[in-house]
Amino acid sequence: MGSKEKPIAEKNFEFIATKDEIEQFWVRMNFFLQEAGVSVKEQSNFRLAISEVLTNSVRHSYKGKPGPVKIIFFNYKDRLEFWIRDFGIPFDLMKVPDPDIPPTKPGGLGVFFVKQLMDEVMPIEEAEGNHMKLVKYKKNKEK
């Protein structure tokens, strides 16, 4: 998908973004993260970053209703990638302004967390819906 480099491991997840389905996704995702040697702290960080993207899909793309999402996890030699796709109303996460830090009012923190926790956050152009690519380099564990 896009890259000619062959990953060490690749895993596809497709589900409807409900609370229960997301919890089941995390049980499976954590298994693959552990297999990739990801620490417990980093597992929590990935959970937060990916959940914030999924929350935006439910809140903005699907207007509060559960909708289908697709997540592809790539374990490369030097990095982990998470490709997160929904099929709802297009919503540009990258245009969300950073909140004041520390925040003085509720809101705007989700995208800030994604940017803080990942090394690269970039949209992938699609004919419909939203597609985000999140990258974390393995050597940059303390970011």
Binding site: I101, P102, P103, T104, K105, L109, G110, F113
Partner: protein, 119 residues
């Protein structure tokens, strides 16, 4: 992990124990409960988070809103026994310097000047 809320009162302090994840799905229930607890002015509120393994931006926003409301009502708010993961999320947003984070209920009660501090 589904969220559960348990309320108790120690002298003039309202204590809320939260168990489970505080996220997009559970934070509306938490917000509703917190607003009920803050119906009166000058409320002293201690929230114990030792059984909260995970919090997201929705949960954090709930606490930011709560802090604003507490200050507006001249009340007091202490968050106690944050897990490492939850404390880490507060630190990313630099909210650990804004909230009063106690290491135990006893410490939080002493900060509130409660007569129950020696519990």
């Amino acid at each position: 992990m589904a969220m559960k809320l348990q309320q108790r009162q120690k002298a003039d302090v309202k204590i809320l124990e939260v168990s489970g994840d505080i996220d997009f799905y559970s934070s509306p229930d938490l917000r509703k409960t917190l607003h009920k607890l803050l119906e009166k002015e000058k409320t002293k509120l201690l929230i114990n988070l030792k059984k909260v393994p995970y919090i997201d931006s929705s949960g954090l926003a709930t606490f930011v809103e709560l802090l604003q409301k507490t200050r507006a009502q001249k009340g007091s708010l202490i968050l106690a026994e944050l897990t490492e993961t939850v404390k880490g999320v507060f630190q990313i947003a630099k909210l650990d310097s804004i909230f009063q984070l106690a290491s135990s209920d006893e410490e939080g009660l002493s900060w509130l000047g409660s007569s129950t501090a020696s519990l």
